[in-house]
Amino acid sequence: MCGIVGLYLKNAKLNSKLGKMFTPMLIEMTSRGPDSAGVAIYRDKVGKGLIKLTLAHDDPNFSWKIVDAGVERALKCDARVKVIGNHALLVTDAREQDVIKWLDDHHPEVRVVGSGKMIEIFKEVGLPVDVAKKFKLEESHGSHAIGHTRMATESAVTTAGSHPFATGADLCLVHNGSLSNHNRLRQELKRHGLKFKTENDTEVAAAYFTWQLRNGKGLKEALIEGVKDLDGFYTFCIGTADGFAVVRDPIACKHAVLAETEDWVAMATEYRAIAHLPGANEARIWEPAPQTIYTWGHA
């Protein structure tokens, strides 16, 4: 169980303030999720032929230079690494599958947290305020961000179990609620070749969407199928390259609220996470209806 938050800036002039606006939203959800926190920020789109991977290592002193140099040597490519906390952003012209294989072979303890051209995912155990500090969230710029504060329900409090979960290039998922048929789904998805690192129900939902997208479905279609196939209580917020999407299950017990002004669209589990945004008092505020997909940006 958890808190989820999302902020999409319609007014690009505010992009430099994304972190400043978003961080208090995340921290406001601490009481719902004191165990761990995570955020996906969309910014700094890499150029043609390049990909951006977010990597993480449990050892804060891990020397990322090895990865930088190793990848360049092994894959005869260009690679740049930027370290933020115990995460690192790897920008390279190599192919994603090759990088992942190299990491698997040489540094299996390095986690690939996200990938795409814009997305950067940072997540760790600990209080949201500490996680935000670790990853310099307040200073961040970007066009949109989704975040999550976690109260682990049926799986352990680990970084790997934290949200957001990547589900494809520039795609990620945060979830508030509790699925009830994820164990069977996990078995099926494993048979389709997807890999799992945790016992977490959200990881299964993320893998499910990855699988649907791999099979050629658009995001909206994938979400429609998801509402049919996923059982339990959920509010999902999906980050995309252009914005985000929100969907709730048919029973719709887990609260969610949306707000929109000329400058931004925000989503949160509780209104108080939105209350402090500039213009919140005059914002249009509404609740997403059950089984209905809402999207912003060009998603």
Binding site: M1, C2, G3, S31, R32, G33, P34, D35, M151, A152, T153, E154, N176, G177, S178, F233, C253, K254, H255, T269
Partner: protein
Amino acid sequence: MDANTPRTIPRKSYTFDDQTLSEIRRAATTGIYDIRGAGAKRKLPNFDDLLFLGASISRYPLEGYREKCGTNVVLGARHAQKPIELKIPITIAGMSFGSLSAQAKEALGRGATIAGTSTTTGDGGMTAEERGHSQILVYQYLPSRYGMNPDDLRKADAIEVVVGQGAKPGGGGMLLGQKISDRVAQMRCLPKGIDQRSACRHPDWTGPDDLEIKIRELREITDWQKPIYVKVGGARPYYDTALAVKSGADVVVVDGMQGGTAATQDVFIEHVGQPTLACVRPAVQALQELGMHRKVQLIVSGGIRSGADVAKALALGADAVSIGTAALVALGDNDPALEQEYQALGTTAGAYDDWHEGRDPAGITTQDPQLAKRLDPVLAGRRLANYLKVMTLETQTIARACGKSHVHNLEPEDLVALTVEAAAMAQVPLAGTNWVPGKGGG
């Protein structure tokens, strides 16, 4: 074949035993599931499968009387201004006025007060009699919210948010029309004589993250004075205990499948939820991992019968236990003296569990005024007090034999198990060995 040909001995089926056959016949006749009261009746691993080691050359017992063995418990000091102080580590579990007669509720209050412990309201709200007779009263906050109101909330000594109970983790309250008398109907805002349908989830919150907000609201309404308990059935005790703590609970109550109910489907009682023995250590482990053992108290219920059960639950890490079925038996439920009447009801003393029908000859699980007045609340209260006293003395006897000056100093290392299952569930060694099964698998 002639009459002299030997035949095999008639043989009944293990799978289709008499009980099963009678149930199939009943289902075919009525078209409705079997509804009954009490907890799981089938044979299950329980505390009998654990033994205390006692005193030895290396461990010395305490003398009775002179060398004190404390039994008091403080519940809910985590946030509340007025924690609950009990003289004994045994409380009376939640049972509703409606499922029980007013006389029975009064008897429970009287007995608990004599013994220095608490009673708990049930799925129907607080009666004036119970508040009057019970020195320490825990007020249940259930999905139905029957009779819920802020005045009673403020009159209570503690509030117990019920997420579930052992007999039916996932089921709501059930009271059939026979027991919806005028008074019950009035308290619950229901038409008289109808079957009360049960809400299984709370109407205005779902999940521990929302529970955190709800607990905060209850504290605000009562100005942070009273401890808040959270009660769960024996479904996922490890996770549920952790989540209850994270939601802000001061006390966690875990009720195993032997825990009784006034009425629910037999299949629910017998096939959903884990035995109490399997629930205690996971709950304690969750508290220990959060650094909250003894700071958030754990009350265990579901088939507690004697001081031996109390001592074992405490040894495994509980702070207190709760009794329901046992308390009713102490009052006079299922008494062999009423055998003729049980037979007239189609049952026998010790088996009577059709409490939902409201025809209890002992006057306990009924709303019929003629039957209910058979129970003398003063005498029955005395019986309950006697029983609680015996259980306390038994707990102390065992604790003293283990060298403890307070019953809370009992620990898992004082125990061994007689069966592999009990050893694995309680995480104590099989007697005569160093082996704790299941340690690898967690």
